[in-house]
């Protein structure tokens, strides 16, 4: 009788412990699900920010292109045409100057070339594409790509937009949430073992209890590891 009573007491205590463990693991599972949901929400925010920044960057580039091709490129073309005329007039002036009675015509041609030079200087003033040598290629044509990069760099806020960074952050958060969801399966396995411990008898219940506790601890460590080391 005494032995039976002792067994019953041990059994009752174990049932109580198992019940508490089941409740604890359930609460932990709910907490992990909540955390995964928060991470998913944060990831969605980072995702949206990335798309918004992509749009901003595209809009900024479109503006820069409009400025480059509709302002500076037009002025650069005027510069090219004026320079061609100046060179032509200077060449003709040299030809006339070489002839016996061509000095007067040469002077007229040179004066026109001087006037065009003044016009050209007025046109290209403040047009970096024309005035700065770094925007010239080896064949003396304009390097629009380099100029476009410099125009973009002139606005540090827009130049600093980095959608890829936002997307990488979103991916990290999503992955972390996914792995946390994976730990929920481990928690569920622990619950399964603990439930078996609750409904079985004798040594088998100890086995299930042990397995349940080990699996639950593994899930807790996995969750803690994810929280601490998965950045």
């Amino acid at each position: 009788m005494t032995t039976n009573k002792g067994c019953n007491r041990t059994g009752d205590l174990m049932e109580a412990v198992t019940s508490v463990l089941i409740a604890g693991v359930t609460v932990l599972t709910a907490a992990v699900v909540w955390r995964a949901s928060v991470l998913s929400s944060d990831a969605t925010g980072a995702d949206r920010q990335g798309v918004i920044n992509t749009l901003k960057a595209a809009a900024a580039k479109a503006q820069n292109l409009a400025y480059l091709y509709q302002q500076e490129a037009d002025l650069a073309q005027s510069h090219v045409l004026l320079r061609a005329q100046i060179d032509y007039l200077r060449g003709r002036a040299e030809e006339f100057a070489a002839s016996a009675d061509g000095a007067a015509v040469a002077a007229i041609l040179n004066s026109e070339a001087d006037a065009l030079l003044l016009a050209d200087q007025g046109t290209v003033a403040g047009t970096p594409l024309v005035t700065e040598k770094r925007y010239r290629r080896a064949d003396n044509t304009f390097d629009f790509d380099v100029r476009l990069q410099d125009i973009a760099a002139e606005n540090p806020d827009l130049a600093a937009l980095n959608p890829e960074q936002d997307f990488a952050q979103a991916d990290r958060l999503d992955d972390k949430g996914l792995y946390l969801t994976l730990t929920v399966i481990i928690f569920a396995l622990a619950l399964f073992a603990l439930t078996l411990a609750q409904i079985t008898k004798h040594w088998v219940r100890w086995l299930f209890l042990g397995v349940g506790v080990i699996v639950a601890l593994a899930a807790v460590f996995a969750t803690a590891g994810l929280e601490l080391f998965f950045r």
């Binding site: 995702d47 798309v51 292109l65 045409l81 959608p163 996914l178 969801t181």
Partner: protein, 230 residues
């Protein structure tokens, strides 16, 4: 301990409850697994959708850039052709004036023709349509290969468009998978409900509930397997 003593209480009522408890746990495990698979599929769907959006924006940006570049190049070509035509007209005027003995006027026409020629030639290095051997007029032709140039200019945009379409297809595929998992979870939930119902029912009907629950859980498991492997 009597080695023949059963591991669980074998009174008919309790045995039924234990079986149902196990079935509930199995269904719960299945549900949790499907939930994980659903999360994974949704995540992939979101990533593909995001990629599609980004490709769409990049395609738009590429088209905008192509518009400006095309306008610029077309403008250069138009100016070149206009200057050439004006130069030819001046040369024609020079010839006519010379034929009629108007030497001063002929010289003036010649001067203007030379100036227009110099201006038009100055534009050539800046025009990809005139300077690039791939597009520049060949032989006696005066027309650049505009079609080839347009194809080359648009190629990056078409490439981005193809990637966008592929991302949309990927998004739809993952979306369909995620939706299937939702259906499976719903089916599992019905199975769980039937297990619960069997616990509060009496007589043979509770076995019917359990049997239908087992069928639904089994069907859910198979459906999950096929969906995951698809």
């Amino acid at each position: 301990m009597d080695p023949l003593e059963p591991m669980v209480d074998e009174s008919p009522h309790n045995r039924f409850e234990y079986v149902v408890a196990l079935l509930i746990m199995v269904a719960t495990l299945l549900g949790v697994t499907v939930a994980f698979l659903h999360t994974h599929a949704s995540l992939q769907e979101d990533r593909a959708a995001r990629a599609a959006e980004v490709y769409a924006i990049q395609t738009m940006g590429e088209l905008v850039q192509n518009g400006y570049v095309s306008d610029y190049q077309a403008g250069l070509l138009y100016d070149y052709v206009s200057l050439q035509q004006l130069g030819l007209a001046r040369q024609f005027g020079q010839l006519t004036a010379a034929q009629q003995g108007e030497s001063d006027l002929a010289a003036e026409y010649e001067h203007e023709a030379g100036r227009l020629e110099a201006m038009s030639e100055a534009l050539v290095p800046y025009s990809i349509l005139l300077s690039d051997p791939r597009y520049a007029p060949q032989g006696d032709s005066i027309v650049p290969n505009l079609q080839l140039w347009a194809d080359d200019v648009m190629a990056p945009a078409w490439e981005l468009l193809a990637q966008q379409n592929a991302s949309v297809e990927e998004r739809d595929a993952w979306g369909a998978k995620a939706n299937t998992y939702v259906s499976i979870i719903t089916l599992s939930a019905v199975g769980l409900f039937l297990y619960g119902l069997s616990l509060v029912s009496k007589g043979r009907v509770r076995w019917v509930f359990v049997a239908v629950g087992i069928f639904l859980t089994g069907a859910s498991a198979l459906w999950t397997l096929f969906t995951a492997l698809a």
